[in-house]
Amino acid sequence: MRTKRRRKLIHGLIALAAAFVIFVIPFLFVLINAGKAGPEAASPSFAMPANWQLWQNLVAVVQARDYMLLLAYFNSTVITVGAIVLLVIFGAMVGYVLQRRPSKFNRVIYGFVLAGLMIPPAVVPTIWVLQGLGLFKTLHGMILIQVAYGLSFTVLLYRAFISTIPRDLDEAALIDGAKPWQIFFRVVLPLLKPVTVTVIVVQSISIFNDFTHPLYYLPGSENVTVQITLYNFQSQFVSQMNLLFMNILLVTVPPLLVFIFFNRQIVAGMTAGAVKG
């Protein structure tokens, strides 16, 4: 028995060492080079900085191009929060009807949900529609796009979770004379809190990290998002790799915080949605 436990310990240590080399060292690389002086970082390496200047570099990145990074953080936050609010409310409503009312019509809706997961968005025609609606290059247009692209996954998560909430509750509220929207918003939605947290965590990370869609639908320097700053800085900072790495570091902080606080929910929610289907 003791040898078995010792073997688990040794194997665990080997696995930790391997995971450290493969997964952690690249992030240390970012940190080290974000702390270097300009010339030192010209060709980024694992050599430690002669003296750490994380703070100076941070200030320099934030001030670059007229505080563009702050504007980007603002825009990304507005898009993420706006899209999440709509996704939670609208997505839960669809998941609720989809789970509670099996019918032919619902099979059609379910088909669209699955299509939304698979079909790649047709980008140029989407720009054409956005222009027609006056939503191209606007933050609220971007919010609605994120909602359209995030709905399928959100609906699937809610549908799976709502099946665990007994119908008796709906019926009791119905007998008490509640209207359908009252049943949903007062009785059901509050009970969906665990999966709502999952939706918020998973979708906020994917919207905050989205690069492709802002690149297409939100051009223009007044509309930058954090991922776009990274892309812009990649060409601007070729000679200042320390600032580029500081920018990567700053953009990684929000997901890192989310990860630290919500690790459990991410795991629970991802698996619930992914395996139950």
């Binding site: 240590l13 009807v97 939304g116 140029v124 956005l130």
Partner: protein, 286 residues
């Protein structure tokens, strides 16, 4: 008399409007626009010319074949590595929880950040990977500068980034397998290898379906990682459909770009639909 349902369909309406206007309409319109010569000044119906162009231009067809190679390679690797890692990380190893977190963390980091980071680490002369290889006497290749290698280097980074999600899904799938199967097999004298092949692999099939389909769709649609690392270069050696679509859009060839979109759509349908059907049928056999 039929009572009015407490689950009214207008609940679906707000989501349906957004989804229809911003997703279904553009998708439907793409079939029309892919048949046009569409630029900044207007469009003109040209039939299948965009598609003929697409399949006769070597650099465009390169994007198509690269897309398939990339998707098959990365999803295959994520499936195999994900299952092996999940088995390892549910075996009661020391530091198991920490290991799971470490493997999963790259999933959350922005792809564009990961792309820039690895583009630096894969630099042929001063990149950290080749410097490290140099210490043990290996002359590292030009990961991203060698046209024969660039696509595979990006695939490697994509596997690095995405294997955590596959692992997570497999961990959930493994948790759903009852211990009694293993006990029964053990009583019958099964070896560990037999346990893995005869019990684990068949019984995690739902998770396998999810991992394969998710990673294939992701691989076929991938854009940001490739754009951050090579912009499809050197030459067109690491171009995929998504980067071709973006390049044609940038160049103002909207019709051709949209045709690329339609091809991507068809490719996903052709690969995913039979696969999903095959997986589901197998599931019924059990």
């Amino acid at each position: 008399m039929q009572m009015k349902s407490p689950y009214p369909y207008w609940f679906v309406a707000p989501a349906a409007v957004i989804f229809t206007v911003l997703f279904l309409v553009p998708t439907a319109a793409s079939f029309w626009f892919s048949l046009t010569n569409w630029d900044l000044f207007g469009f003109q119906f040209i039939g299948l010319e965009n598609f003929i162009d697409f399949f006769s231009e070597p650099f465009l067809i390169k994007g198509l074949t690269n897309t398939i190679i990339f998707a098959v390679l990365t999803s295959g690797a994520k499936t195999v590595l994900g299952l092996l890692l999940a088995v390892l990380l549910t075996s009661g190893l020391f530091g198991q929880g920490l290991l799971r977190s470490i493997v999963f963390f790259p999933v959350l980091v922005s792809t564009i950040g990961v792309g820039i980071l690895f583009a630096e680490m894969m630099h042929p002369t001063h990149g950290a990977i080749n410097v490290a290889l140099g210490y043990i006497g290996i002359d590292g290749p030009g990961w991203l500068t060698n046209p024969k290698l660039a696509l595979y280097s990006i695939a490697l980074v994509d596997i690095w980034r995405g294997v955590g999600l596959a692992t997570l899904i497999y961990i959930a799938g493994l948790a759903a397998i009852g211990n009694e199967y293993y006990e029964a097999a053990r009583i019958d004298g099964a070896t560990r290898l037999q346990l893995f092949w005869r019990v684990t692999v068949p019984l995690v099939r739902p998770a396998t379906t999810t991992v394969v389909i998710l990673s294939l769709i992701g691989g076929l649609r991938l854009f940001d990682l490739i754009w951050a690392m090579t912009r499809g270069g050197p030459g067109f050696s690491s171009d995929v459909l998504a980067s071709v679509i973006y390049k044609q859009y940038q160049a103002g060839f909207y019709g051709l770009s949209t045709a690329g979109n339609v091809i991507l759509f068809a490719l996903i349908a052709l690969i995913i639909a039979p696969l999903a059907w095959w997986f589901n049928r197998k599931e019924l056999d059990l």
